[in-house]
């Protein structure tokens, strides 16, 4: 009989029975035993473990003071010396889901304690944390709290006991993007043929190589006329000032640079270089305008065809760059452009 595990639960102010939105600013606190939704976790654990503490934090506090909230929650979790942390489930609650993912990731990394959470597929916490955290797929609302808690606990117990974790579909968690070798009875040719026959017959089949899914981004409308708009130039073709001051990688980039073109009607080739290793950069190094059209954009600005050319060009290297890194860099650049009052972007790509 394995000994009872010490489990710490994390819930928000609502599921911790402190209050609704009016209490969403509550700072992290810890209560002994299982409080609120953590009681479902205790029920699911049965004799396998005891919820020794419930950590509670208001959703707004967790979202707005995320660094401070996370540090405080990790400290409260550590004080209870858990063998396992169960966060949520957060269902479709966005702030809550992101906080659950962040806490699980931090607990694993800083305390080396296994952690599990659960949420709905469309909770933003899924995309942010599924690569580092086991996130069990739940419904959108807390109508089936006990069975969902049971699924979290089932996976959590396996993690805490160091048992082998099965494939995402079998265990009910979101795929973490991990590729694992498995031995099968049939060859790839036989499996592919079977899949094709299923497809032709209209039967369901599951690909062994899921393609990355690209979320569709609604196309924004230019709300101003071009004559009144500020236009920025951005590129993934790798143009950087001599010396590559930001150390942008030659491939699989994780960094981008912001480079001023203030007072420049044109780019002087002698002042630029290009670390991009995904295409022959000879021609762009000869004349950077072949990638970043500062010369004609400046003329269009002077002619009044556009209101203003933004004085900062953003550049990174787009080759073998992961989707996650691209999305992060794109979001960061977009945020900076928006803060600077830019209305539209021409992104030149090689």
């Amino acid at each position: 009989m394995p000994e009872r595990l010490r489990v710490v639960c994390y819930v928000n102010q609502f599921f911790g029975q402190i209050g609704g939105e009016e209490k969403a600013g509550v700072e992290p606190l810890s209560r002994d035993g299982a409080v609120g939704a953590a009681r479902a976790v205790q029920q699911a654990l049965g004799d396998a473990g005891t919820v020794v503490a419930t950590v509670i934090c208001g959703d707004n506090y967790a979202a707005e003071q995320s660094d401070r909230a996370l540090a405080a929650m990790v400290a409260l979790v550590a004080a209870a010396k858990p063998d396992l942390v169960v966060a949520g489930p957060a269902f479709l609650a966005g702030r809550y889901g992101v906080a659950c993912g962040a806490l699980c990731a931090a607990v694993q990394a800083q305390l080396t304690v296994p952690a599990v959470t659960g949420m709905h597929a469309e909770n933003p916490g899924v995309d942010l944390y599924r690569r580092s955290v086991y996130i069990v797929q739940t419904g959108a609302e807390a109508t089936r709290m006990l069975p969902e808690a049971q699924r979290l606990v089932a996976l959590g117990l396996k993690l805490a006991r160091g048992e082998k974790i099965g494939a995402p579909a079998a265990e009910g968690y979101f795929a973490r993007g991990v590729t694992r070798n498995v031995v099968t009875e049939t060859t790839a040719a036989e499996r592919a043929t079977a899949m094709l026959l299923d497809k032709l017959a209209g039967r369901p089949f599951a690909s062994e190589v899921p393609r990355p899914s690209f979320a569709s981004v609604p196309a924004p409308r230019l709300v101003k006329t071009l004559e009144g708009a500020t236009i920025a130039l951005v590129t993934d073709g790798g143009l950087v000032p001599k010396g590559n001051p930001d150390g942008i990688e030659a491939l699989n980039a994780t960094r981008y640079g912001a480079y001023s073109i203030e007072g420049k009607d044109a780019l002087d080739a002698a002042q630029y270089e290009n670390p991009h290793r995904g295409y022959d950069t000879t021609w762009v190094k000869q004349d950077p305008h072949r990638l970043v059209p500062v010369d004609v954009a400046r003329e269009l600005e002077q002619r009044g065809a556009i209101g203003k050319l933004h004085e900062t060009v953003y550049s990174t290297v787009g080759v073998a760059t992961t989707l996650a890194q691209s999305a992060r860099m794109g979001a960061e650049i977009a945020e900076k452009l928006r803060a600077a009052g830019v209305d539209a972007v021409i992104l030149t790509s090689t």
Binding site: G237, H289, T350
Partner: protein, 61 residues
């Protein structure tokens, strides 16, 4: 590379002059090369003021 841009969901796509020099062409005279670049940038501006509902390739003028 426009099919890739469509696949990943870029909304306004203007075909350019080539992978190694999207906004230029070393085989043209400097004046012609700049004119080519101006056409592509103007087409990008035209695309920006066009409302689209899905990834759209603005074919070269």
């Amino acid at each position: 590379m426009t099919p890739v841009a469509v696949m990943v969901g870029a909304n306004r796509i203007v075909p350019a002059a080539g992978i190694i020099h999207p906004l230029g062409n070393a085989e043209l005279s400097p004046d012609d090369e700049k004119a080519l670049r101006r056409r592509i940038v103007e087409q990008a501006l035209q695309a920006l003021r066009t409302e689209v509902a899905k990834p759209t390739v603005f074919s070269s003028a």
